[in-house]
Amino acid sequence: MDASSAPRRAARNLEHAVVRFAGDSGDGMQLTGTEFTREAAMHGNDLATFPDFPAEIRAPAGTTAGVSGYQIQFASHEVFSAGDQPDTLVAMNPAALKVHLQDLKKGGLLILNEAAFTEGDLKRAGWAANPLTDHSLDGYRLIQIDFEKLVSLAVEGLGLPTKDAARCKNFFALGLVFWLYSRETKREEESIKSRFAKTPALAQGNLRAFKAGYFYGETTEAADAPYQIAPAKLQHGRYRNVMGSTGLALGLIAAAQKSGLRLFFGSYPITPASDVLHELAKHRRFGITTFQAEDEIAAVASAIGAAFGGALGATASSGPGMALKSEAIGLAVIVELPLVIINAQRGGPSTGLPTKTEQSDLFQAVYGRNGECPLPVLACRSPADCFDTVFEAARIAIEYRTPVIVLSDGAIGNGTEPWLLPDVDSLPAIDPKLAVDPAGFMPYSRDEKLARPWAIPGTPGLEHRVGGLEKDFVTGNVSYDPQNHERMTHVRAEKVARIADQYPPLQVAGDPEGEVLVISWGGTYGSVTQGMMEARAAGARVGHLHLRHIFPLPHGLVDIVARYRSVLIPELNLGQLRLHLRGQLGIESQGLNKIQGKPFHVAEVRAAIEALAMKVAHARREIA
């Protein structure tokens, strides 16, 4: 019998909840969070997650530097962000409490591992006094348990070494939270068995710890618990939970399959982009070459070489790696070969904040190369959007023979959400139009998209040479002719500009005209959507335009802006889209900028919208 089929107290219905698991890097918090997320997905909730972990693999145990967290918002309605403040916080040690307590909702539920609150651990975490006894936790609903003791009782008789027994305590916490939100336990129990299949004693230990946590719930006196959250009414169809980096990988595979090309993925390990390589390496049977290169430059250069050979070349990196790749990306621009470059943005400059999210590579993507070097730049907005964005990027790359940059970020890449699986047959086929006919072949002749022929080695009669030196407009021979260089510069720019002609029309959410238009891009989509909805509910007239296409910018943007009295651009940088829109289109705007390595809270966006709406309305009254 699985734990959840035991008789239980009546549960209270909620529409949504935010839970955060926090502990030491070695406490398995990412696994705990992922497991809880899977069950929420299978339960049919809509959800969004925000994993947040340190750059060090094992920072000194018990210190605040080593705290790892995983937050999930799950709901019976559509969810746009992982939530501002947790309703429930699980803190496995004093350091986790120290870092995360400030975020917990007033009156929220706090689950603590009492065993970890030793004098030494309190000191390591920087607590001057013991928060369990000095009233620091007044105002929260506290469930204070000696995890260690209960887990060791639960695993008694399995012959698990003490160290392994202690490692089961995250499953105790998971079991308790399962009870708290009335989750089915059957799937989790199966998952534990299969995950630890190779070490049966550990599987049993974790299983028992999980059940012990669940049953412990019954005995707690936490007011008004347990809760339940009904499945969300999402669009009909088949769903799976997807991490952003998995979505990126699958999108690349789909594009390769739909174009009939081999996927070549060259990559060098870098946080937070490596997961794309890990995912693709698993699927090599689909005719995928994954290549772990000696460095970032070789990663992109090998992908360019593969593209010359007729493969869909792709690479992924993060800011510092993108900097190293920029010369080669310029090469891909001038040789006009398809290439997809994914940048999982993180805090910068330099090494910056490797495991934290940021949107500060927009300039680098659009403007960061030598010479006049235009290329399309797309940005994903969420984990489930990664597939579509990268698929479109690959289609553009192939059809226009150009490198394309896809901007993702750490929060999107590691975050999870339910993904409505696309109907494979309705994904558009991509025609690579490989050149085969030697009659009149010119390597730099152009079609209506201004794309040049893709003539790959192995094709008789199309032998030709490409390279980084400027080429003659027609013959493709090296040319130093000044007029030709200007003409080629213009044609490369025009080719990229024309890509905007085939974008779908822009869609504004919220009010079609009003006080504020919020323009966002990338991973801020969720918090901005929610912030806009809340501001509208409170009476502001707000529209929201989210841009997937960063370059070339979509047509019609200026007309939409004209329908609003002000423009707000929230970004996790110091205003890069603002300056981009001002420079490209002369759009004036206000910025909302945050650069803390964290996503926006919905409340921050909402407050900024409302403040701007008020200012605009006030100014209007003054004029009147």
């Binding site: 799976r240 689909f286 010359f308 070349g313 192995g458 094709t459 199309l462």
Partner: protein, 336 residues
């Protein structure tokens, strides 16, 4: 070899005007390679020349095959991607001492350690030519150049010991001014399965004229070069009376031809090849094939693994099944 495809040197000569300085050693290499190509009996469309930046890297423009003039130092990386994606192609890399030993050193050593099936031709003129005369990583210590007017203070690389150290399966040296020898060595490199590394001494008459004269001029060659031949004794000299033998301290010593060591390019252990490659004057400099061993190539191994994975999988290799893998559910309620 008989030429079944009936191609000639002309078929491999592009219509581009060759723009090296008069007297440049590159001309001889180009002519020789164009002449060698028909012999390989490979359809022209299946041959690709990839290069980096530098005088030598203009090479692909002059070959009427597929060609890719890359960026500085990155030719091995570009070529690696190409070969991994299209293992059936024959891929040559043309590079120089600055291109592949300085800015592109990392790519060179990794291409060699992976044993990717590329033919890497390093035109070594011991100077930066295209940037007009700076010291290169093979310029001899103390060399006066534009960037080192008082003489260099950094020691040069020995390209062959570097290649051996990186685990190259084929390592050879030849001299551009000796067409017959160069033809023989490049033919061997072209036929080698795996990463083939050839250092070609190439004179730059403009910025480093006569860099190899002390060894390669006709009148000194026989005394100053030792031609390596597989399973032949290591002898040299006009009268072929001198030989190399193992001395004390793991080193090679000069002696008489009678006791000379026999060269074995297929030897697994690189110690002797290292010792030969490291010889410095007054020892003769080795030319020829230093090492040629057979190892699986990374391009072939990757494909084999891919096929094994496909064969071992029980699920169909369709996009549908891939997207639907893992836990899925229908919104209508039932769990999939």
């Amino acid at each position: 070899m008989t030429s079944l495809l009936k191609l000639t040197k002309k078929d491999f000569t592009s219509d581009q005007e060759v723009r090296w300085c008069p007297g440049c050693g590159d001309f001889a290499i180009l002519a020789m390679v164009q002449k060698l190509m028909p012999e390989l009996n490979i359809p022209r469309e299946n041959i690709v020349f990839v290069s980096g930046i530098g005088c030598s890297s203009r090479f692909p423009y002059y070959m009427n095959t597929y060609g890719f003039h890359g960026i500085h130092g990155r030719a091995p990386a570009i070529a690696t991607g190409l070969k991994m994606a299209r293992p059936e192609l024959t891929v040559f890399v043309v590079t120089g001492d600055g291109d592949s030993l300085s800015i592109g050193g990392n790519h060179l050593i990794h291409a060699l350690r992976r044993n990717i099936d590329l033919k890497i031709l390093l035109f070594d003129n011991r100077i930066y030519g295209l940037t007009k005369g700076q010291a290169s990583p093979t310029s001899e210590l103390g060399k006066k150049t534009k960037s080192s007017p008082f003489g260099t203070v950094d020691r040069p690389f020995n390209p062959m010991t570097l290649a051996l150290g990186a685990g190259a399966t084929f390592v050879a040296r030849t001299v551009a001014s000796d067409t017959a020898h160069m033809t023989q060595i490049l033919r061997r490199a072209a036929l080698h399965k795996g990463a083939a590394f050839v250092e070609i001494w190439q004179n730059c008459p403009v910025f480093n004229d006569g860099a190899f004269d002390d060894w390669s001029e006709r009148d000194v060659r026989e005394e100053q070069l030792i031609k390596l031949e597989h399973e032949k004794p290591l002898v040299y000299g006009k009268a072929r009376d001198k030989g190399l033998l193992i001395g004390g301290g793991f080193s090679l010593e000069r002696g008489s031809a009678a006791g000379a060591l026999v060269h074995d390019e297929a030897r697994d252990n690189v110690a002797l090849a290292m010792a030969l490659a490291s010889l410095e004057p007054p020892y003769p400099q080795p030319v020829g094939v230093l090492r040629a061993v057979s190892r699986p190539t990374v391009d072939a191994l990757a494909r084999e693994q891919e096929l094994e994975l496909a064969a071992a999988s029980t699920k169909p290799a369709t996009l549908e099944s891939l997207l639907n893998s893992g836990d899925t559910w229908n919104v209508s309620g039932e769990i999939g």
